[in-house]
């Protein structure tokens, strides 16, 4: 399985080729505290430290902004406002509606107003608080429903339809409708937003940024400085302390501010955000209000489905268009919807502009249809699993998505069979029913939910990548590509790919910092695509080198090309073997170019956004989970008793790393759906701006029991790198099973006769109130 370098007779394997569960390339540095993040880099002499002044109002005219007390604060060297920006006062990724500093009007609490550079971080942060601002408030819409009432749409409403859903729903044996609210989520990367801008002697600027998207930071900095050319700016990122989508578009603001201050002072400037400010200033996962109507037959098979997804986009466009598109693309999840209308309303609210977060709208779209599956099952008195199976894609005429893409690689029927068996689902459902019958206070629930997640950027042009591979004349390899390392193990996997291609130990390959000066025009490391895109590009670069070396060896040793084979650590040249470093040195002495670039663009994809038809995704990644939970009906407290996960990574490049993504994604999803709650005051102020009030899962929240497996022997049907599959985002949605298991437990309070009014997140409070209302209803029904 190693391309044309494979040799089943070879005794020796290289160390750290593909399929090997190598530790993360920085693991040794991580545990020593020796891995440098942007704030750990040695600062150049004279570095100043920056802070942002923030709006205190959700929507208001700025009547006056007195910055004199700020300027006179200890240690302050420079204060900048919108008026000081020579270039564009904008850092928006797609639409130019994200001012770096607000001008005239503020549109959310925490919007950036001005910035300070001072001698110390503390001096800068103290100074910005001395501003005296006078505002004249304007009406503010904070929630989805208030924006709907005010008719405030940020972007045009979109609709994807097939067939005649209204007729199909109307003529079905059974109908249901409902409303379902899904909360947002803070990324809570452990390393906050940060940028260090260093002015260069030639007028250029070197930016160290914690970013998933160095090119966009480069472009935004060039624009705001009034530079005409991106070539004046270099952006570098060795690693991030977590990102999760929160560093896709968001880092541009901080890099622009640092660059503007560096430009104004001629000194290096670092802007590191305090956690509370970071959470006020940066966007989060969109919260949704969904309304649906569904018509189905006696088996629960859907005949018509209509869903309206209204989301809180915040004050600017940011990535909201693509995020809401993806919510639409995943409104089917794994199910065939013969007649369907998916409407997406993108609301403008006077809150922080919401942005990318692992799953990128997909989780919200998917959770709604999963909720519908359970609602159908409950209405029919069926096991929700049977309703899900009845609706799975598959069979003649039942394998085309609402956007017209044929699902060719569906492995869910087999995957579910395996998971149902290994998790003992049916027996446990019976056990739970028995437990619940004998327990008044504690109730248990179980749910099995599948995931089908489309892989590729829906913006087709982003599906490209570049890489750069240098061979030094001692045989060691310098590897660079456009992807960024945020903990997901991208650098590890790509080093494994290059090692495999060149048949050398991975220890000879050094993965290096992402740098816009090395690989240009790289897309964001996002959409789970990091390895698919950059892995293929690096593989291409390595293959180019291998071809050149083959040509050289053939000529140099005078043997036919076919007799040259790359073996572990050495190259077989006819009858002799040449150690890899010797061959490289020989090639160098003979003036062979030992550096190559690689490029990749995803084949087959393309769709028409006007008609919502075509093939937005190269392939789908699949998975499923069974979760069992228990709730306390006196308090709403709950815990996950057990989870069983079976996930599809194709032919995994590194099972340890993929397993890390599966487990980490799952628990992050659990956080989204249980304990993580963004609370806004009526004034629009976010009240949960720190880990003291915003609770992401802790260690004890990992389930009491778990079985996490990768689906075996399922190579990607498409020609991805070594037939692997993307794994960054899909596992997050395995957590849908936890939410629905909680709802199952709540529903047991009224013997599953009434659908509980339980929205996400299912906090103890949400669970208790749902239980209390169900019990009240039961009492009414019984009387």
């Amino acid at each position: 399985m190693h391309g044309d370098t494979d040799d089943t007779h070879t005794q020796r394997r290289i160390q750290g080729g593909v399929r090997e569960s190598l530790p993360h390339e920085s693991a040794g540095q991580h545990v020593r505290g020796a891995a440098w993040y942007t704030d750990d880099l040695p600062e150049p002499n004279g570095t100043l430290h920056a802070a942002l002044g923030l709006s205190e109002r959700a929507h208001a005219e700025i009547v006056s902004l007195d910055l004199n007390p700020v300027r006179h604060s200890d240690g302050v060297r420079c204060v900048l406002t919108a008026a000081d920006i020579v270039g564009d006062n904008n850092c928006g990724p797609i639409v130019a509606d994200d001012p770096i500093f607000a001008e005239g009007v503020v549109e959310h609490v925490g919007q950036s107003l001005f910035a300070v550079a001072a001698d110390t971080v503390r001096a800068a942060r103290q100074a910005v608080r001395r501003v005296e601002a006078i505002y004249r408030d304007r009406p503010a819409a904070i929630t989805v429903n208030s924006a709907l009432a005010a008719g405030q749409f940020l972007l045009p409403t979109e609709q994807m339809t097939r067939g005649d859903p209204d007729t199909a729903i109307g003529s079905a044996c059974h109908q249901l409708d409902g409303e379902f609210v899904i909360g947002g989520q803070e990324q809570f990367y452990l390393e906050g937003q940060i940028a260090l801008a260093i002015p260069l002697d030639d007028g250029g600027m070197h930016i160290y940024s914690s970013t998933q998207f160095p090119m966009e930071v480069q472009a935004a900095v060039a624009r705001c400085l009034g530079r005409e050319r991106m070539t004046d700016i270099v952006v570098e990122c060795r690693r991030m302390g977590g990102a999760f989508g929160g560093k896709e578009s968001q880092p541009a603001l901080f890099a622009c501010v640092a660059a503007l201050l560096a430009e104004a002072t001629g000194r290096p400037v670092k802007l590191r955000m305090d956690r509370d400010d970071d959470m006020r200033v940066t966007g989060k996962r969109h919260d949704f209000v969904a309304r649906y109507q569904v018509g189905f037959d006696a088996a629960g098979t859907i005949e018509g489905y209509r869903v309206n997804l209204a989301s809180r986009c915040g004050r600017s466009a940011d990535l909201s268009g693509a995020i809401n598109d993806r919510a639409m693309f995943h409104s089917d999840n794994a199910y065939f919807l013969p007649h369907v209308a998916i409407t997406s309303e993108r609301l403008k609210t006077h809150t922080v502009s919401n942005t990318a977060f692992r799953g990128f709208g997909g989780p919200q779209g998917m959770l709604v249809i999963e909720e519908v599956m359970d609602a159908i099952a409950q209405a029919l008195g069926k096991d929700p699993l049977s309703v899900r199976r009845a609706n799975l894609y598959g069979g003649a005429g039942r394998n085309v998505t609402p956007y017209g893409m044929t699902v060719e690689d569906n492995i869910l029927p087999e995957l579910l069979d395996e998971l149902v068996a290994t998790s003992d689902y049916h027996q446990r459902r019976q056990d739970i029913a028995r437990f619940n019958a004998g327990s008044e206070v504690f109730k248990r629930g179980i749910a099995l939910t599948p995931v089908k997640f489309g892989i590729s950027f829906t913006a087709t042009h982003l599906n490209q990548a570049g890489a750069l591979v240098h061979l030094y004349h001692d045989g060691s390899v310098h590897l660079n590509h456009g992807g960024t390392e945020m903990g997901q193990g991208l650098f590890t996997k790509i080093a494994q790919i290059v090692a495999e291609e060149l048949q050398i130990d991975v220890g000879c390959v050094r993965a290096t910092a992402t740098d816009t000066g090395k690989v240009p025009n790289a897309s964001a490391t996002a959409a789970s695509s990091g390895t698919d895109l950059n892995g293929k590009a690096a593989q291409a670069a390595a293959r180019t080198l291998r071809e050149r070396l083959t040509d050289f060896a053939a000529e140099h040793y005078d043997v036919p090309r076919e007799q040259i084979r790359f073996m572990p650590g050495e190259v077989q040249v006819g009858n002799r073997t040449v150690p890899f470093p010797d061959l490289i040195h020989e090639a160098y002495m003979n003036r062979v170019q030992l550096s190559a670039t690689g490029f990749y663009k995803t084949p087959k994809i393309g769709y028409d956004r006007r008609t919502w038809s075509g093939r937005p995704f190269y392939y789908f990644a699949y998975g499923a989970a069974v979760s069992e939970v228990e709730i306390d009906t006196l308090t709403g407290e709950h815990l996950i008793r057990r989870v069983d996960i079976l996930h599809d990574c194709g032919e995994s490049l590194n099972e340890a790393i993929d397993r890390g993504q599966i487990e980490g994604g799952f628990l992050q999803g659990v956080g989204w759906l249980t304990c993580e709650e963004l609370v806004y005051a009526d004034s629009g102020e976010l009240l949960t701006t720190a880990p003291s009030t915003y609770k992401i899962p802790a260690c004890s929240d990992w389930p009491r029991e778990w079985r996490v497996d990768l689906m075996q022997s399922t190579p990607n049907r498409e020609d991805t790198v070594f037939r692997s599959k993307a794994v960054g985002e899909p596992p997050l949605m395995l957590a849908n099973s936890v939410f629905l298991a909680l709802k199952d437990a709540v529903a047991s309070v009224a013997e599953h006769r009434v659908r509980p009014a339980l929205n996400a997140p299912a906090t103890p409070e949400a669970i208790l109130l749902a239980v209390t209302d169900l019990r009240a209803q039961r009492t009414v029904d019984d009387s």
Binding site: H24, G33, A123, Y189, R275, D276, D632, G660, T763, P764
Partner: protein
């Protein structure tokens, strides 16, 4: 030497001048500032600057003699995990600091904790990793023998990881002792103490010597730092410097520095006043010195009041518990301070002292309003007196939060009852999170008297919750949730008093 504190770091004595201007190596300098900005020792990370994420976890070592009531520590040294972001550097005076860099020399072999983390793929982005390594290291030192899951859960309650889902970290924690035991004897000796080659005894002696030579106050350019050793000295300083911020564990004062950005010009650290470290039982009460860390109290009192053990475990993460004190929690007077309902239900009293004398106040009479109390500007809290358990008494405490660990309660209910043949003969009921201050509910207490725990909770008892409180809605919970659960906790109390095996989901699941 004037104006300096002294502590050990990697065998080296650091003599640090804290007489600088406040905000710049003054008395309010934090450990994390010193590490990252002065020493450029940047393995220790800042994730939140409020002691809630654990990325900045370091370990502070002190001689065991300095931590009375300590039953679990085998050697002469006690290893305490703390949050460097909110710990004052001044608090290191006479102690040893260990950071992640202390565990393995550059390019040297990894410590078993680190090795286990690598082998189990327990780091992804790596930003939380140094803190997790240090928390696990404190467990590695505190516990001989392989820990179980609940030990790791507890140990890491204050270390957030956003990447891994914790499973590989749990497994690393379970494996670390075996890795250490498998090392050759020479390596074990070397690793017996992270941070240097010296053995516990030598370090303990060095710390004792440092302690003996340390200063009792440091006056700087407009700043002042008091480091008293005796209560008399502390009270004189309190009288002379009423402007000084009193710091015991610093877990709340630290936030004034990092979040409110207040420069503290004058600080009175009471952390090493020997009388305030007293922790011992007499025939009728536990004397809990105001500067005794919660972690020490938990160890000492667990056997007597198991409900307190569970409360103090969920009070906060180990790094907070090793710094925070009961005295500080009371002086701080937060309406959601989790110790208060329990202490009210136990009818605890507080001993206050000033240069002009000592007085004792029932905790129920201590608060006069939101964050207001009877404590006078020249007074310090000396100790909290917790009545000892006697036959027939039961204590139950229930803390309700969004997340089981390291969270501040929405509601905390504490119930003390005396039972005679399953009948409640007297009761004390107290709640936190229901009003501006934690409060007893005398009407509820009376309504419970004479009730058999095998009966349902009497309606009138439940009703007292609604009539006694008008709770608020905030980011932690709505008024409705608070009112409902406060009443429902009475049902849970009866379940517990009846001896039902499953009462609290979290406790049961552990």
């Amino acid at each position: 030497m004037s104006g300096c504190i002294q502590f050990l770091l990697d065998d080296e004595t650091h003599v640090v001048d804290l007489s600088g201007r406040h905000g710049a190596m003054g008395p309010d300098t934090t450990v994390l500032q010193y590490l990252r900005e002065q020493l450029l020792r940047r393995g220790t990370k800042e994730g939140c600057a409020e002691g809630d994420c654990g990325a900045c976890t370091v370990v502070v070592v002190e001689p065991v003699a300095a931590s009375p009531g300590d039953g679990k520590c085998a050697g002469r040294l006690r290893y305490r995990p703390v949050n460097a972001c909110i710990q004052l550097l001044a608090g290191l005076d006479g102690r040893e600091l260990l950071t992640v860099e202390s565990l393995a020399r550059r390019r040297g072999p990894l410590h078993p904790v680190q090795q286990a983390m690598v082998e189990h793929h327990a780091s992804q982005c790596g930003f939380c990793t140094p803190g997790i390594v240090m928390s696990l290291f404190s467990l590695y030192k505190a516990q001989t023998g392989t820990p179980v899951r609940r030990d790791i859960d507890d140990c890491l309650a204050g270390n957030l990881c956003r990447c891994t889902g914790y499973r590989p970290i749990l497994e690393a924690g379970l494996a670390m002792h075996a890795l250490g035991d498998a090392l050759p004897a020479a390596a074990q000796t070397r690793l017996a103490r992270a941070g240097g080659t010296e053995q516990d005894g030598v370090v303990a002696d060095r710390l004792t010597a440092l302690d003996a030579s340390s200063q009792s106050s440091i006056a700087g350019d407009g700043t002042w730092l008091g480091l008293p050793r005796t209560l008399a000295e502390a009270l004189q300083m309190r009288a002379a410097r009423p402007d000084a911020t009193v710091v015991a564990g610093g877990t709340d004062v630290g936030l004034q520095i990092t979040k409110s950005l207040t420069d503290l010009a004058a600080v009175l650290s009471v952390a090493r006043v020997s009388e305030l470290k007293r922790l011992e039982p007499t025939s009728d009460v536990w004397h809990v010195g105001a500067a005794v860390p919660i972690a020490d109290l938990q160890l000492a009192i667990a056997g007597e009041w198991p409900a307190l053990d569970e409360l103090l475990r969920r009070f906060a993460s180990p790094p907070i518990r090793h710094a925070a004190t009961l005295g500080g929690n009371i002086a701080n007077g937060s309406p959601i301070g989790d110790s208060m309902p329990a202490l009210l239900a136990l009818d605890a009293t507080v001993e206050l002292a000033s240069v002009s004398g000592t007085r004792t106040v029932a905790l129920a009479d201590f608060y006069t309003g939101y964050r207001q109390s009877v404590l006078r500007p020249d007074e310090l809290i000396v100790s909290v007196l917790i009545p000892r358990a006697t036959h027939g008494e039961r204590l139950a405490i229930y803390k309700l939060t969004k997340r089981p660990d390291q969270d501040i309660s929405a509601v905390c209910g504490a119930f003390w009852v005396r039972l005679e043949q399953a009948k409640i003969v007297s009761a004390r009921v107290a709640y936190g999170g229901m009003a501006a201050t934690p409060a007893r509910v005398p009407t509820c207490e009376r309504a419970l008297e004479g009730v058999s725990v095998f009966d349902a909770v009497p309606g009138p008892a439940r009703d007292t919750i609604a009539t006694s409180f008008t709770p608020l809605s905030d980011q932690r919970a709505s008024a409705r949730y608070r009112a409902l659960t406060a009443a429902n906790l009475l049902d849970r109390l009866f379940m517990e008093l009846r001896g039902e095996p499953r009462v609290d989901l979290y406790r049961h699941a552990r």
